[in-house]
């Protein structure tokens, strides 16, 4: 309750958390709330401007753009959340383990993450998608892998400090196993920065999903995705400028909402940072959590 009370103090964050919530509801219910079948073509009804029948007009194939924007919300959410889970479920255990155990494993893993962090996210993602093939799964793997080093570094950093705490030493003295110490004593104390990092990574993944799809490397037709829809709209921009409105607004709102909610969450979980807005992860560069301790070897 204390967390919610403190979170509610950030009015902007609170307002946009409702926007994010609304987007989540749209993502979960898109196929039921879409006014038309997003895949149904009507070739003689193509390129119709916005009207009461088709709120955002129809695309070249006569498909309802509004319905496709709604379904694209689901597709994008699925990819962004899957990518975060991919990065967290691999990056966090690895980071905890190497941070706790140290030694050669830590040296090797950290040098590998250093190498991966050299590359901008989008470049790394493009390389991975080219290898994995352009598809939703390819994008999830690409984005997940590209951000995994960041989760490894952050988790390792906070694990290094937590493992020096007395209660961890006490657990070791009591004969607790390594998995038990990691799960019962370290994870509960490092989860906050991980959650914040995941939240701050969300808009990065949304934008990069759109970027990859815009380049033709992401979601493949006929499934809609905002970046892919923008690319298609761009080709007929002069004749049908209205096609660009729906995906642009959706992309803008989701990224803005995720960023502001991430900021609010960070300030709530880390009151020391109150009053100064923090740098978010660069969209096309390695994402970095400000304030997270990163201890080098």
């Amino acid at each position: 309750m204390d967390f919610l009370r403190r979170f509610a103090q950030d009015r902007v964050g609170l307002a946009f958390s409702f926007v994010l919530l609304a987007l989540a509801v749209v993502a979960l219910t898109a196929q039921w709330i879409a006014p038309y079948d997003p895949f149904a073509i009507s070739l003689r009804q193509g390129m119709r401007p916005p009207s009461w029948t088709n709120w955002l007009g129809t695309d070249q194939f006569g498909r309802d753009v509004f319905s496709r924007v709604l379904l694209a919300t689901q597709v994008t959410s699925k990819i962004a959340i899957s990518s975060i889970l991919f990065a967290v479920l691999i990056g966090v255990p690895v980071g905890m383990f190497v941070g706790y155990r140290g030694g050669m494993a830590e040296a090797i893993v950290m040098r590998m993450t250093d190498v991966l962090l050299i590359f901008p996210i989008i470049l790394l993602a493009i390389v991975i998608v080219v290898i994995a093939g352009p598809s939703e799964r390819g994008v999830v793997i690409a984005l997940g892998l590209s951000q995994m080093p960041q989760f490894i570094r952050i988790t390792r950093g906070v694990t290094l400090s937590i493992k020096e705490e007395l209660y961890v030493e006490a657990a070791i003295a009591a004969g607790a196993s390594t998995p038990s110490i990691l799960l019962r004593h370290i994870w509960p104390n490092i989860s906050a920065p991980i959650v914040v990092q995941a939240t701050l990574t969300l808009p990065v993944f949304v934008l990069n999903t759109a970027a990859l799809s815009y380049l033709g490397l992401g979601v493949q037709p006929p499934n809609p995705e905002w970046g892919q829809m923008l690319n298609e709209a761009k080709e007929v921009l002069a004749s049908a400028p209205y096609l660009i409105i729906g995906p642009s607004v959706a992309l803008f709102l989701s990224v803005l909402a995720a960023n502001l909610v991430g900021d609010a969450l960070q300030e709530t979980l880390n009151p020391k940072l109150k009053g100064r807005r923090l740098k978010r992860p660069p969209v096309f560069g390695p994402a970095r959590l400000p304030g997270a301790r990163e201890t080098g070897n």
Binding site: L43, R44, Q60, F61, G216, Q220, E235, A238, S239
Partner: protein, 549 residues
Amino acid sequence: MTSKRTSLLIPAVLSGVFLSGMAFAQQATPQYGGQLVYAQSGEKFTLFMGRNTDQSAQDVWLNACETLVDMNEKNEITPLLARSWTVSADRKKVTFKLQEGVKFHDGTPFNAEAAAFVFNEAKEKKFLYISLLEGFEKATADSEYEMSFHLEAPFAALLPTLGYRPLCIFSPTAYKTKGEAGLATQIVGTGPFVHTKYVKGEYTLFERNKEYWQKGKPYLDSIKIIIVPDASTRTAMLERGEIDRTVQLGDLELARLERNKSINVRTVPSTRQFYVVLNHRIAPMNDPKFRIALNHAIDKAGIVESVFAGRGAALMKAPTMTDGVVAFTDMRQPGEDTIFPYNVAKAKALLKEAGYEVRDSDGFLKDSKGQRLRLKLWTPRGATKGDYQVAQLVQTFLTQLGIGVDLTVMESAAFSSAMNQGPEDAKYDMALLSWGIPTADPDQPMMYFTHTRAWKPVGANRMFFSDAEIDRIADLAHVEIDEAKRKEYVRQWMARLLVTAPVIYLPTLNLGLAGRTYLKGDQILAVDNYPAHFAWFDKAEMERQGVRR
């Protein structure tokens, strides 16, 4: 000897006649000077004509490298480096009298020896186009300016094939000195412009050939061909006057461009037809019933309407062949607007005969064992206007039939490489491509597209289609000189294609060329060429439009 003598004046006369009929004025006296900037969509992976048959490369070569004969806007053959030609009684030898006093850009003389070298080298080194010269035995230099083509059998399409741009005569001296690798970035021919610069992926620059053999030509100082992959960017550049002409326009933009009084838009029917390659080595695409069903499942008129705004493409009147190609016959049934008209009921019935039907409530097409039918469809994006959109619609129509179609959009170079594999290495089920007939002669599709001998990687038979009757008719037409008999063979060949349906036939493209109105004398040819080497600028109009070059 039967002979056909053609005056050197004919090209000028013909061009005068035809160009006057075009929308752009030709009566005014050409003015000299200026740099033409022409934007193309695609990059050339090599400028050496022996290793490249890309359509867009042809507009690059024709500035600097000339063929023995040329093709005009009516798809008629006119003399170019060959002044005239005679054909022997047995039709196995064609002798060309060549232009005299012509020099390559490296200063070496153009003569019979040089011309013969190019064709003999093409055969020996297996240049990509050599399979088009089916039955070519050798070329000999009979005298300084007389060269003979020796054929194993009469070849009805020899002259149109010799007008195909990649068969231009490059300098043997430059070839021997620089090799194929050297000529991959440098064109050394006899053309009206000298190739002076090539920046891969950016532009190709040509400057006026002051020693050009057609006195008084060319009119422009230079031509710069730039690469701008995005159609809307090219259109915007043209509207702003940054470029003088461009091709591969978005059909949805045409109406808007036509309202611009400073821009001249021209469209002509082309010989280029979209089709979906079906890999016959994979079941059930080896079954003609299945293939015909797929042909009936696609709403071609809907594609023309939505993707090409009703004007950028036309419904097919015949398989592979289009209006304007020699010996063309309209193969549509009476009352039908296209071959394989859209008929979902017929498609489903044929699929049932082929063993596929919807057996459960899931709506998927399954065989008798309950196995769901799922196919991969590959497409490039931007290689030909509308390709990506057409592929999406093909996917949609086949999905509506209950076939699972996984569409993969591939980068052009990766797609090209993947589609040039032999039968054992080809990994596609289906792929969207387009087919043009640059020689405007049926020999090319008959011998190079559907013949068993044309299986990739040798020819363009990517379907790995094989039909003895198709091959027999093609072989007969290949050597038949009599026009009426040849036309009948071509008709039989097309009729057989309608029964075997080796591919999914899709609409025929209309070509579009947009240029500033001060640009005069450039052309648009149905064979997807856009020559501008004898174009010129109306300086006063250019000034009025505020463009300076």
